[in-house]
Subunit: 217 residues, 2 copies
Amino acid sequence: MIELTERQEKILEIVKKYGPITGENIAEMLNVTRAALRPDLAVLTMSGYLEAKPRVGYTFRNGAVENEIRKILNRYRVRDVKSVPVVVKETCSIYDAIVALFTEDTGSIYVVDEDNFLTGVVSRKDFLKATLGQMDINKIPISVIMTRMPNIITTTLDETVVEAVRKIVEHEVDSLPVVKCFIDENNEEKLQVVGKISKTTIARLFLDLAMKRFEGV
Amino acid sequence: MIELTERQEKILEIVKKYGPITGENIAEMLNVTRAALRPDLAVLTMSGYLEAKPRVGYTFRNGAVENEIRKILNRYRVRDVKSVPVVVKETCSIYDAIVALFTEDTGSIYVVDEDNFLTGVVSRKDFLKATLGQMDINKIPISVIMTRMPNIITTTLDETVVEAVRKIVEHEVDSLPVVKCFIDENNEEKLQVVGKISKTTIARLFLDLAMKRFEGV
């Protein structure tokens, strides 16, 4: 995504078409000297467009680089990057949940039943709608405004981060509860909340990858 | 970040210490056959831990891969990924701004003066605070609750996305207005809003990179 000069673009075209090709040959095709071409070839090599192989020449490496990044990004699992969610009971008032939102400085709140199984998710927009209405938010429990199953989008510890991000983007949600699934004696699915993946998590991972602060491969 | 078996970890240790080293030699050191080792070496090579060079052997490539990803991520500029912001005038009521927030389905709103220069930013949390208070949100203009200069964190078209993400993470904001800077006749800095970078933008870029849907190198 760096902006290339017209000559650099021409060099890429030539290497795509004729590579592997020597700097000498590229210079000939462009009617310039090898020395004049040196800065352009350096830029293209350092920025990853071209690969310079001794005694072979320049090759185009777009695919190789993109494959690499895809492989790396797909290596991260939800368990590696998840954060700690803010969880309240269904009986918690809307007002108290908003207080938790501010004191814990979070974007969404997860709601659990008396057995601590997930029953709902509430976003800042849900809270905003509630405060705009005529509701007595001090009395009405959060269960009234929460999004319930089957409309909660969740992820699991072993899912890839890429898959979790795909869910966030496609379902246009701010975060996903990370859940462990149990089947109870009535054959019903119960979800235990063990973490959270939010857009903030993704921004942090992106930054860590770019700054090389993330431990591990 | 994939989970390695104990034997795969041992192989990594050996290659880190003795690489480049042949599969044959690794097998010897682990007291197993070369054939037994083949699946492990395949996993480690495909997942990017090791590089297999014909007639040379296996080398450890953690650093190389991380350098690559860092280079790629640092190539993107704000201008390549920015989105369209929702902008209102300072005189807009808090209520009307909230309506815009919902109809435009956005997370933050930027506020401009009568000359269309940036004067404020309002987040969902700011709105939530306003609706919780005793304010008459139908009458009070948004300028009362907005964050003003010099407390607005901004970015520019030419900044790298990595730098923009760093600002978002470190200042704990949901988005950054992308601005062009002008100096007016009174020698004052004026900011024109030309875009927006939000956590959603980052999530999308992350996904595009992982899915290889992003055009260009």
